[in-house]
Amino acid sequence: MKKLAKTITALSGSAILLGACGNAEQAEEESFELNWSTTPSYSTQNPTESQANYIADKVSEFEEDYPQVELNTDLQSTDIDESMTRLLEQANTDRAPDVAAIDGYFFPRFMDYLQPLDDLFDEYEIDIDDYLPFVQDVLTGDDGQIYGLYMNTDTRVLFYDTDVVEEPPTTWDEAIATSLEIQEEGYNGLIFPGGRGEGTAVTTLWPLFWAQEGELVDEDGNPTFGEGDNYDKMLNVLQAVNEAVESGATPQRVSSYGGENDLNEEIAGGDTAMFLGGNWQVSFLRETLGDDFDSWAVAPLPQLEEGQFATSAGGWAWGIFAEEEEKQEAAFDLINRLFVGEEGMTEWTNVHGGLPSRTSIYEAEDLEAGEFSDTFREYLEDANVRPASQHYNEISNQMQIAVSEVISGGKSPEEALDDAWAVVNEGE
């Protein structure tokens, strides 16, 4: 009997030991690293304290819920082109992080390397149709699968001071006439980004071009902006900008403004009553102009012809490169709770500003919608995004050079467009 008891005890001990070893091994197997490549703005390094705290809290919650995950944060360069180039190179050489922030217009170029997320969308009850139309196009691959999670977005509009400009100009000619009128009252004329920078392309050039149904590239992504009808449409754009400068409606100095925020210093001076800019400038205007901003309003960007409409939309998305299911699930959960889920997108919009890319969020009870939020949403319904062509960056850079040469008086619109087309087309 004693012998039997000893045997049972020994066997039990062995079983417990084996079980413990098994659990330890299992726990070891389950723990894994998750490499999170993010921009400084979308990390705990965000320079704004409230945003940094929001991200830090959410990350802590995530780490509590996923003790097996060791989250490694890799900060991308603040130079978007440089960081996207590096990420693409990493993806090309199978060294991509598990999950990464990707500028919306770069996103389609990463699709070959990203994992489809349809099952996770279902699991987390996110409906792709809830996204704004342009976002659905960006996130959906040619195979109909969903490849990313979109964060907040942005758009471009005409800002005007109703105390000075009673009716916003709807056409470019009206904008020139209004600009000349308000200059007589001591205000600056119409200003917009017209220098070397992406702001010039997305705020000034492309909306005027897209509104004429111009196409920068064909279906295969090859440049078309300098041939056939598209040549005439792009020339119309450069001629319109030239006319604004030559008539004195727009100062030549806009050729040194490459981004929308470059206008801020001039706006802060208080003599600006009309400019083309981005929705995110609202917070700057409110902070700088204070109560004087009460009289400001927004309107669609003035176009070459009455009845035309076009604006640009931007924003960032998240793509998951990891092939392992547990990594995909953890990465999806992290991004969902930070920026994309109903709670995440609402809270992030409240602390960060910007415009939700999911339509349902605009109706969320907890959303502290910014000024003109509903108007921006209306414009976003028909917003355009930059083409995902691999030639896009060169087209954009060359057209930025072209328009700034026209504004500074270095070249005529025809010469500038011909040179831009020659550079882009010669590379084919």
Binding site: L88, Q252, G269, N397, I401, S408, G409, G410, D419, G427
Partner: protein, 306 residues
């Protein structure tokens, strides 16, 4: 001599041979140079003969990048812009650097207070990163009445100066900012050179009745020639390679009026993802820099031999 002694002698000779040889000391340096200098240079030259892009993994070997570079609009303008930028920067950096070095030296001889402060203040400009200098000057050049320089200019009744939006003014503005940035380096080098000049020669010239101008031109400058030459070459190469300050100040615009070669390389590779074209432009810059170095070695070598 038995076998054991022979072996010991051989071993001693080998140890002495290796010990006296510079090879073991040069191996680590050579390896470092190979991996951090020669390999990247080789890669840049290799990529310049391809149509490589950051957006595609495949590429083929071709000379089309060079053909494209030399035939497209903008290349010769870029060379001219770079030449003006470098020539004006180098000349005025040396001129002002020499002037400040002379003033500090004179100040020290006269036991004036504040010479160290002046030296430190000038050096600060050299220590500030190029991007920050670009931003500082961008604020200075703002083309509204609230811009610092335009505000000052308004006191003499001059209208707003388009520092950054006029192609010619923009090149002037960028060059001026670069002169401000680089003067300190010339000052340090020339100041060090002035300190090494033999006092007896300068005094002898003075006793012989040479005027201040004559002493400067006939005595001081010839003795400083090697330092001036080194300074000339270093700041020339440095200016050719400048792109950070220009990028922050004008981004190369308006148009391409301030797009120097180094900035063009950055734009081609990181903005347009065109690695082949960017590498071909980099080879042009490398050729210019190597040419400058050969000139430096030959001219300085001859002077050394003389």
């Amino acid at each position: 001599m038995n076998t054991s002694n022979k072996r010991s002698a051989l071993s001693l000779t080998l140890t002495k041979g290796i010990g006296n040889s510079p090879i073991p000391w040069l191996i680590p340096l050579s390896l470092i140079l190979l991996f951090v200098f020669l390999f990247p240079v080789f890669e840049i030259i290799r990529y310049s003969f391809t149509d490589a892009s950051f957006l595609e993994t495949d590429y083929s070997y071709t000379i089309s990048s060079f053909v494209r570079l030399f035939t497209l609009p903008g290349f010769y303008q870029m060379l001219i812009v770079t030449l003006i930028f470098v020539t004006a920067s180098v000349f005025f950096q040396m001129f002002f650097g020499f002037l400040i070095a002379l003033l500090i030296d004179k100040g020290q001889k006269l036991n004036l207070k504040g010479t160290v402060m002046v030296r430190t203040a000038v050096l600060t400009a050299w220590a500030i990163p190029g991007v920050v200098i670009g931003i500082i000057w961008r604020i200075m050049y703002t083309e509204t009445p609230s811009g610092i320089l335009n505000y000052l200019i308004s006191f003499v009744g001059v209208d707003i100066v388009p520092f950054l939006s006029d192609p010619y003014m923009a090149l002037f503005a960028v060059t001026l900012a670069n002169i401000w940035r680089g003067t300190a380096f010339s000052m340090i080098l020339l100041y060090a050179g002035i300190q090494t000049l033999p006092k007896d020669v300068m005094e002898a010239a003075k006793i012989d009745g040479a005027s201040a101008i004559q002493r400067l031109l006939k005595v001081m400058l010839p003795m400083l020639a090697p330092i001036i030459l080194i300074n000339l070459i270093i700041i020339s190469i440095d200016t050719f390679n400048t792109f950070d300050m220009v990028m922050a100040l004008t981004g190369g615009g308006p148009g391409q009026s301030t797009e120097v070669i180094a900035l063009s390389i950055y734009n081609s590779i990181f903005r347009e993802f065109n690695l082949g074209h960017g590498a071909a432009t980099a080879v042009v810059l490398l050729t210019i820099n190597v040419g400058m170095t050969i000139v430096y070695l030959r001219v300085l070598g001859k002077r050394g031999a003389a």
